[in-house]
Amino acid sequence: MADRNFSATRIPGFATIAVAAFVVLYLPIFTLVIYAFNAGQSIAVWEGISFHWFAKAWANEAVKSATLRSLIIAVSASAIATSVATMAALGTTRRPAFRGQTFIYVMINQPLMVPEIVTAVALLIFFGVIKQATGYQGLGYLILAHTAFCIPFAYLPIRARLEGMDLSLETAAADLYASDWQTFRFVTLPLLFPGIIAGAMLAFVISLDDVVITEFVKAGGQDTLPTYMLGQMRRAITPEVNAISTGLLALTVVLLTAFFLLTRKKG
């Protein structure tokens, strides 16, 4: 009596909404990419195809250094945040409630709850004092600030994954006399991996995107890509910004493709 076309996983309407969502998501991005090739000065009036905005962006020293800085900060921050968040997730999930658990949970999620402008001002003051005391003015402050607000973004997907995981596999491993560490390395970690990757990617994007906190904490000459673009937006907005975004997008596509190919081989 099974309907041959019946698929247990199909829910009516969902596919339509999903595809529509994709289209809507990409529409502004396509516009963005197309105008990067605009021969004219405007980001809204099309005047023919040209590559000169790309050439301009490529030759722009400020853009290159801002991009590099953004990437360095994002990689460092997401790496540290994800490691630290994984440990914290393991410590706080799937346990009977223990003393101070709510406190830890609140602390970890606190950057999400505080408006960035507040953290930005608080850090401006706090780091300002430290800068004057130690004389150190490098990227450390930005990396520290980014890591902190990336932690909850890495934590939540990992925790969600962990909570949904089936404990029986780990119990089975323990039954087979695996040590805690072995269980972790060979059973928990591989199962948790998609959650960790989701967390790391989220943290990376959040760091790359940040405008408000970076704008306040940065010292002279420490522009990241978003703060550079913010500066450009206050001036005459030209398709150079589109060109930069398109370039970054292309880089991302390449990286993600490589990443997906790699993980597929392992799987």
Binding site: V45, G128, G220, L230
Partner: protein, 341 residues
């Protein structure tokens, strides 16, 4: 894990050591520094200038006050300069390092906010008025009524730039008062006028040059240089001088007390006092400068532009804003906060 730590430690150390000789950090308004000028400066002196933007005097002040900012030069507006000086954030300029000081036009030397130019040197100056797209509205644009008693054609299409000093004082002039007044009657009228007009405004945002050019806005309270740039892109845009009274502003360059690249800073300050370089600055942002002899080097369209060369009949209505007493400032801030809600 250890390798990662080691590598990151090295990275941190190297970024703080990378303090190249021959560099300068300029903290300035957005869209206000000619890139050509910076290129020319680098070619002649070997000093690389990095510009960081701000869009309000308050942000700039907060950033510098907090310390550890890394900037050398800053360009505050006239009425803020005394505040910077009072807080000890600017150093007195060493005249011996500025051989071209004499180029400053005489009327800009003994200004109320920096008598004798002890701390600052002129950057650019201009006025705040009303920019209108005359194909949308053909009436009289030389009055603050355009934004305080919005004509039909402009309702819902006019922007007001969120600059407290400019806007509140335009309103005060409109109701017949004087800037920095502590007269509560006048202030009340100004506040009521602003609040009554607000529903007819489209937005309170920056970006007029672009938005007037692409017709997102039909009008805006705006600065003259920005309006000129908009007119060059969109010829229907015209600049109005409010006859009730409009503010003049001047931005000046100051040397920060905790600047690291002091010698380079002096070279730059001196550099912009040469007529041809001052003209370069003006040509970019389209504002007048305060250096004698620069007219010879100014671009043709600026010599006759109505935004830059104020027509006779409106010259008397333009006034520089004084630095208000704390009480007057408090009133203005309160009005502004109420308006912004």
């Amino acid at each position: 894990m250890k390798k990662l730590l080691g590598a990151s430690a090295l990275l941190l150390a190297s970024t703080s050591l990378a303090h190249a000789a021959g560099e300068l950090q300029l903290f300035n308004w957005g869209n206000y520094t000619s890139p050509e000028l910076l290129e020319k400066f680098e070619k002649e002196t070997g000093i690389k200038v990095t510009v960081t933007d701000y869009d309000s005097n308050d942000t700039a002040l907060a950033k510098v006050e907090a310390g550890g900012h890394g900037f050398d030069l800053v360009v505050p507006s006239a009425n803020y300069v005394p505040i910077w000086v009072e807080k000890g954030l600017l150093t007195e300029l060493d005249r011996s390092k500025l051989p071209h000081f004499g180029n400053i036009a005489p009327q800009w030397i003994d200004v109320a906010w920096d008598k004798g130019r002890k701390y600052t040197v002129p950057w650019q100056w201009g006025s705040t008025g009303i920019a209108v797209n005359t194909s949308v509205y053909g009436g009289d644009i030389n009055t603050s009524a355009v934004f305080l008693d919005v004509p039909e054609e402009l309702k819902g299409k006019i922007n007001v730039v969120p600059e407290m000093n400019d806007v509140v004082n335009l309103a005060i002039w409109y109701v017949g008062g004087e800037p920095c007044t502590e007269d509560t009657e006048v202030l009340k009228k100004a506040r009521d006028a602003l609040l009554a007009a607000k529903p007819d405004w489209l937005s309170m945002d920056y970006g007029a040059t672009e938005k007037l050019s692409n017709n997102d806005w039909a009008a805006s309270v705006n600065w003259n240089g920005s309006t000129m740039r908009a007119r060059l892109a969109n010829p229907a845009v015209k600049y109005g001088y409010p006859k009730e009274g409009y503010p003049l502003f001047m931005d000046s360059v100051g040397l920060l007390a905790d600047a690291k690249n002091v010698e380079e800073a002096y070279k730059f300050i001196d550099f912009i006092m040469l007529p041809e370089n001052a003209a370069m600055l003006s040509a970019f942002a389209r504002y007048a400068n305060g250096i004698t002899g620069s007219e010879a080097f100014m671009p043709e369209d600026m010599k006759t532009a109505p935004e830059v060369v104020t027509p006779e009949e409106f010259q008397a209505s333009g006034h520089f804003l004084p630095t208000c007493s704390p009480k007057a400032q408090e009133y203005m801030t309160a009005i502004w906060t109420e308006l912004q809600k």
